[in-house]
């Protein structure tokens, strides 16, 4: 499969130029929109919340494009989009999915209706209020045009933002290239991109002022307090003498010790009645909210969640998927409630490397498939809808027993970068790809 078979277009240079031009037009329109307030929420909502907005929302002044904070959530292992957002009204869904089909709305343990065709997994109920507020869109049938069903190949290609196999040397990520190409949203920002993890993800590789931070609340240098600053300067001298990723990581670390350790993550009190799950993931989202509110100029926070490779005991009314999607959606729902009007300058995007096969396997689980479902959340997401180019689940529609990829993940992300991250050259973050505008965001 290649791109043109999906969207009927070529990758010619002329289109690339068009995209640049379109991005510029978007930027102009955005400037006008900013003057009258956000379209759907109205000027009153904006007026009541303007004082609380972090500076990033207005960086650059009236005519400049929006610079949201992006919370990017990579769900590793192949999250089952057919369970998160089941097409309960599709005539082939129940017969193809068999025992793993989510029952229709109204039935015991049934889906929560989204639009009469698609529903939301009952364990994901915590996301429903944000959906009903128009701040969440599901992009169903999204994925990579590359047919690989290897986790690690798919992740490499998606994180690299590169088109297809053959691009074996992927050294920077699409989001890392975006951060590297953009001026800081807040001049002098010390931490522009943070991955809340032990290891640094490829998605962000190449981003300056970036760190992997497993626990934000513990970001401090132990040892004698009397020499804490002196030892930092000693380390700085050592690491300034070398090159490469180790030097960059060390110097970014040293830049941020004072700044981050002055934020009281442990004492942070969420707003809006938000209750984050008592788990590593919940804590990551809670700390993300605290970091955003601290307004230090962070542009991207990546929160990865692994363990979606449900080859067995996937479960419908209970089970591994049930628990994990519940934890994720409670985290997202809590972030939405906690940030409140700040969601007008925050965009959340969740995606996975591929979905699962439509048919259940013999272990009450599913094997590797193709398209899955992306989740977008934010005050400027054109939400309250399930975006798709759905051709059903009949045998002819499937891509080798899996949901076919009808929406290229790069279109979604490029539009996000253009409309919400102020990137005038978002298309160039995805080499050899001319993005299609799907109208996913107010820009």
């Amino acid at each position: 499969m290649n791109e043109s078979s999906i969207h009927g277009r070529s990758d010619g240079c002329d289109e690339y130029v068009d995209v640049e031009r379109r991005a510029a037009l978007h930027a102009l329109r955005r400037g006008a929109a900013a003057m009258v307030g956000r379209r759907r929420r109205g000027a009153a909502a904006l007026a009541s919340s303007a004082a609380a907005l972090p500076r990033v929302a207005f960086a650059g002044g009236g005519g400049a494009p929006a610079r949201d904070v992006l919370v990017f959530c990579f769900l590793r292992g192949g999250m089952d989009g057919l369970s998160l957002c089941p097409p309960y009204a599709d005539p082939d869904y129940v017969s193809m999915r068999g025992p793993l089909a989510v029952p229709p709305p109204g039935a015991l343990g049934g889906a929560l209706d989204l639009d009469g065709t698609f529903g939301l997994h009952p364990a994901a109920a915590a996301l429903l209020p944000a959906y009903q507020a128009g701040d969440v869109a599901f992009v169903q049938g999204a994925g990579s045009t590359d047919p690989t069903r290897s986790h690690f190949d798919a992740m490499k290609l998606i994180e690299g933002g590169v088109p297809n196999q053959g691009a074996s040397a992927v050294e920077t990520g699409w989001l890392g290239r975006h951060v590297a190409a953009m001026p800081p949203a807040q001049p002098g920002a010390l931490l522009r991109a943070a991955a809340l993890d032990d290891v640094f993800p490829l998605t962000l590789a190449g981003a300056p002022q970036s760190l992997a931070i497993p626990k934000l609340a513990e970001f401090d240098l132990d040892g004698y307090g009397s020499t804490r600053a002196l030892r930092q300067s000693r380390l700085r001298t050592m690491y300034e003498a070398i090159d490469g990723p180790l030097a960059a990581g060390a110097l970014s670390t040293l830049d941020n010790i004072d700044a981050l350790s002055s934020i009281d993550f442990d004492g942070y009190a969420p707003s809006g009645g938000a209750v984050y799950p008592d788990s590593t993931l919940g804590e990551a989202f809670r700390n993300t909210a605290a970091l955003i509110k601290a307004d230090r100029g962070v542009e991207v926070v990546e929160i990865d969640k692994g363990g979606w490779d449900h080859h067995d005991n996937q479960g419908v009314g209970a089970g591994r998927f049930f628990d994990m999607i519940g934890e994720l959606c409670q985290s997202l729902g809590a972030l939405h409630a906690d940030l409140g009007s700040l969601m007008g300058s925050v965009t959340v995007a969740c995606m996975t490397e591929f979905g699962r096969r439509v048919d259940a396997n013999g272990s009450a689980g599913t094997d590797h498939g193709r398209a899955s479902c992306m989740v977008l959340m934010g005050g400027n997401v054109v939400g309250g809808r399930v975006v798709r180019d759905w051709i059903g689940l009949g045998p002819a529609a499937l891509d080798d027993l899996a949901v076919p990829v009808r929406i290229d993940y790069r279109d979604v992300l490029a539009e996000l970068l253009t409309d919400r991250m102020g990137d005038p050259a978002a298309a160039s973050r995805f080499p050899n790809h001319a993005p299609t505008d799907l109208g996913l965001f107010d820009g």
Partner: protein, 502 residues
Amino acid sequence: MGAAAGRGPDREYPTRRTVVAGAAALSVSVAAARTARALPAPSAAPALTDLERALLSRATFGWTAEDAQQLATLGHETWLRTQLVPSSIDDSALDARLAAYDWIPMTGPEMYDHPTLSPWEIAQEGRSVRLLRATYSKRQLLERIVEFWTDHFNIFGQTGDTDVLKQVDDREVVRRHALGSFRDLLHASAKSPAMLHYLDNDTNEVGAPQENYAREVMELHTLGVDGPYTESDVRELARCFTGWTYYPVWQLNVGGTFRFRADRHDDGAKTVLGISIPAGGGMSDAETVLDALASHPSTARFVSGKLARWLLGYDPPQAVLDHAERVWRGTGGQIAEVVRALLSPRVLKAANPWGEPKLKRPFHWVVSMYRVTGVDLDDPSATIWETWRLGQTPFQWAPPNGYPDVEGAWASNLLPRWSNAAGYAAGWSWSTDFEPDELRAMLAGAPKDQWARAIHAALGGGFSGTDLAVIQAHADGFSSESNQAVSECFELAFSSPSFLRY
């Protein structure tokens, strides 16, 4: 990958002479120039050549005076040959520490019937045992290779039955075959109940196949993701593996041991990688494919290249990779022979480890600190908890690809290491009784204005001029030779780029 098949294995297999000639060609293509990074070997340490110091850094979890002395005595090639026959090395000091873990030689069922320990506690002790072996074993090269295969055949130790069964896998699969034949290692891994459970083959049955293991055994364990297999091969191999499972762990005497269930096996004909597998083959279906995978040229290239990157550097010269692949194919995948070739003086020199150092992963780093300071980890379970935040606890990587071994993955999460070094050097570790006095003893009476040189010597050398100057400046800033002064000079040494890299 059609090209690989076209070349034909017969013509590719090198004779002994071509192997040697290949190695000779390597040394010509080398930029062997040392960088200014390492100072001359400190006088207090045994007189090692640069190449021998590089060997120690590659073949161990970090420098100790005792290992350096042994290498100086035996010389490069004899030391290497000895390390490659681990049973020939007395390891009684480690054995004495391991005597507390009576479950180590037990079968799965025996572990489940352990009179005092729960499966969870055995898993916790398993992580401790891994730490003790890496720190104290005299068979250091074995431990480095065990680390490699533990990642290559990764099993997450908290997936249901893998809590106990990973301990059996560690002993019967990884450790038993780490320096043996790759074919035997692969077959043992395929029958390992921990692997069968972790990658779900225990529920792979006729009529309802599930392909998790079948995919990963080709992608991760043998051919590599660029290998010549298709989605159809994945599904056909999954059919071959139907019925490969293990007895439920609660079953008397046999629980947790491998079991082939003929009644759950798909006995139809299959085709995998172009190999026709006739109907009725039973368990031999998958064994046939495992043999084909073990001897496949793509496996030779993928696994020998990965081993070269593990031992030598992130991006070894192509000639080194080619050489490793030739040795792999020439010996039919004898792991010890490939390791011996990679660490031979000529290849090691060609790989230029001084110019292109690797970043120690967190476990390697903390173990190297423990080794060089000679600490007595007398509560290793507590040490596991204390070092958990470093991000690389044994058997805790959940996806099947193993902990990453690329600099970018680890280079921006350094604060846990620096804080660990600070607490350890200050004597504040809550899992050990380590005291600054022990660091003071390592200074061997050197006056404060000589501390950087003394630390350089005590830690086995390899420190850059910048790092030593910074350490000395820090010492100079103290008005007395206080515990804090000693601790912080060592803290800076352990936190320096010179000690983080190898």
